[in-house]
């Protein structure tokens, strides 16, 4: 197995070749039970404690379809602008691999529940690309293997494997795009933007946790290249195990560069499965497609067809959420955020939180400052997300209110936030307990200002001469004098008033 593949520079590859992409995304549904049996689906249970005769493939066990699984599949199809089948069947996909104890996966073959749709995705440069959807079909997840022996914990070199079937049978929807052409150099960005848009959509539908790092959403990327201007697609490779948005972009980019190097050297692309390595940023050869990839699909005899009535489909259509891209535009305009501010909010995963904070009475600017400013900064520093701190929209709205009412200044508000994160109570409780309150007594502030001006005549003179920036040093000292318990804006106002050229 060669792991030192040649690559050519990406721009050079794009000058000579057009890439074609095809993306397959598997998403685990968040149903309480498996697709064909009543076993629970919770993540992280003891191995083989969420299994039964059906999902273990014991003789005589009969599957029954989870109605929520079908509903979720139809809603996903509708949200992707697909047609919904009047009538469709499950099929057996036969293969020998210990992750499926039945020796087949119950899937759908030539009769997917949803087909012929599209999803418009917005790229980072602001342009839009329409991703055509080939199909979305229902199937079941496989078990998880632990490979023992060998040095790497990988399947290669392992002496034997240990299998946990808790995941086997969890409802899975596979969403397959049509070949994506005409992307040119933007192919990696289109791939990433599509997976991101799909994730947002599935989250809005509330059909899955869509946590790529936990494997509840997984992406396989088919990539081929053809000489510029050619009509016939090149031979494609399928890169598996691409499980973050960044990896989707990198893996597509890498495959384009690698394939270009192979073709430039006069070689040909092998149709094969490749594995993505997050750490080194390369793909390596898996196994070539072969005769053994004949899955001998046939209609599942143990399950009757699914035939959703048009009334049922219409009922489910009514449950679709506002499309995420449309919702973001609406909220951005309502909140008056710039494009850059909105992007920070989205990247911080704070859209819902800000919406709730504004509903709880905060100003959009105040809500943004906390969620995509202070809390996002802390989250980044600690490798968390903004929702991990136990801070609620109600907390932020209350804190914003305390600042607006003049009880706290910014630095005090941050101390209050420390207290809220530490679990000391609501912002008001924390401010009370910690004794944080701006001194409202102007005479104390005025005395401090006079004292500082008297002690810093050279600086005061500069301010009198119109160098207003110099006032900062005085404000700092006044705040120190007041032990931080003063309104800095008010201190500045007082200093400037006292040092105004026309003041005597």
């Amino acid at each position: 197995m060669s792991i030192t593949d040649e690559v050519v520079d990406y721009d050079e590859a794009l000058a000579a070749y057009d890439p074609v992409l095809g993306l397959e995304v598997h998403v685990e549904l968040n149903t309480a039970t498996k697709m064909f049996c009543g076993c629970a689906t919770g993540f992280g249970a003891e191995p083989n404690t969420q299994v039964c005769p059906v999902c273990l493939g014991l003789p005589g066990a009969l599957p029954v379809v989870n109605e929520k699984g079908v509903e979720a599949a139809i809603r996903i199809g509708l949200a992707l602008n697909c047609s919904i089948a009047d009538w469709c069947r499950f099929a057996r996909k036969n293969y020998f691999y210990p992750d499926m104890p039945k020796n087949f996966q119950t899937s759908q073959y030539d009769e997917p529940i949803a087909f012929d749709g599209y999803l418009d995705v917005e790229l980072e440069d602001g342009s839009t690309y329409r991703v055509e959807i080939e199909r979305a079909h229902m199937e079941e997840d496989t078990g998880k293997s632990l490979h023992v022996g060998g040095s790497t914990g990988r399947i290669q070199g392992a002496e034997y494997s240990l299998v946990d079937y808790n995941r086997a049978g969890i409802p899975l929807i596979e969403i397959v795009t049509k070949p994506l052409t005409g992307t040119g150099a933007k192919a990696p960005l289109v791939a990433k933007a599509y997976v991101a848009a799909l994730r947002d959509l599935l989250k809005a539908l509330n059909v899955s946790d869509v946590r790529m790092e936990q494997g509840s959403m997984r992406c396989d990327a088919n990539v081929s290249i053809m000489p510029k201007g050619a009509e016939k697609f090149g031979t494609r490779t399928e890169t598996k195990n691409v499980n973050s948005l960044r990896s989707v972009e990198r893996a597509v980019r890498y495959e384009i560069s690698r394939q270009a190097a192979v073709l430039n050297a006069g070689g040909s692309i092998l149709q094969e499965t490749r594995h993505w390595h997050e750490d080194t940023g390369v793909t390596t050869s898996g196994r070539p497609k072969s005769d053994a990839d004949d899955y001998r699909y046939f209609p599942e005899p143990d399950l009757v067809p699914i035939a959703p009535s048009r009334a049922e489909v219409d009922r489910l259509r009514e449950t679709l959420p506002e499309p995420p891209a449309q919702r973001r535009k609406r909220l951005q305009s309502a909140w008056g955020y710039s494009d850059l501010e909105m992007r920070d909010v989205v990247n911080a995963g704070a859209v819902d939180l800000i919406e709730q904070t504004v509903e709880a009475g905060a100003s959009p600017a105040g809500a943004r400052k906390w969620w995509s400013g202070e809390l996002a900064r802390r989250a980044n520093a600690e490798g968390k997300t903004v929702s991990d701190f136990g801070v609620t929209p109600a907390h932020v709205a209350e804190l914003d209110g305390l600042v607006k009412a003049g009880r706290l200044n910014d630095s005090m508000a941050r101390q209050v936030m420390d207290g809220v994160i530490a679990g000391e109570g609501t912002p008001t409780q924390v401010a009370d307990t910690r004794g944080l309150e701006l001194v409202q007594d102007d005479s104390a502030l005025e005395a401090a200002v006079d004292k500082v001006i008297a002690a810093n005549e050279p600086i005061a003179a500069k301010v009198r001469d119109g160098k207003l920036n110099a006032a900062g040093a005085l404000i700092g000292q006044v705040m120190k004098e007041m032990k931080g318990q003063a309104d800095a804006a008010k201190a500045r106002e007082l200093i400037l008033a006292k040092l105004a050229p026309d003041a005597s």
């Binding site: 273990l56 989870n66 929520k68 699984g69 020998f96 632990l146 392992a158 946990d164």
Partner: protein, 98 residues
């Protein structure tokens, strides 16, 4: 009427992980060809107006509510496993050494 070749039988046997000797292949190829021919008589009767069926019952949409039911215990699940370790089924090496 299409006939089933010896090579096709060998291919299907490979897919099904059934090891057949040359004699068995000769014998089964003939027998399977007869079976396919016999079943193929259905095609002579069923015209285009008879849709293919995969299930004898005229039922659709048999589903169950999404409610958790008891699973087996780990001990029960592993009871018939030839080998197990760490609460998991132990299976032989998956990839050949190379």
């Amino acid at each position: 009427m299409s006939s089933l070749s010896r090579d096709e039988v060998a291919h299907v046997a490979m897919l099904a992980r059934i090891q057949l000797s040359d004699e068995e292949l000769d014998k089964l190829a003939g027998q399977l060809d007869q079976i396919v021919g016999y079943v193929g008589q259905v095609n002579e009767i069923a015209a285009d107006d008879v849709p293919p069926m995969s299930h004898p019952l005229p039922l659709v949409n048999v589903t169950r509510p999404d409610e958790v039911r008891p699973s087996l215990t780990q001990e029960q699940a592993l009871a018939n496993a030839p080998a197990s370790d760490l609460g998991r089924f132990e299976v032989p090496r998956i990839l050949d050494e190379d």
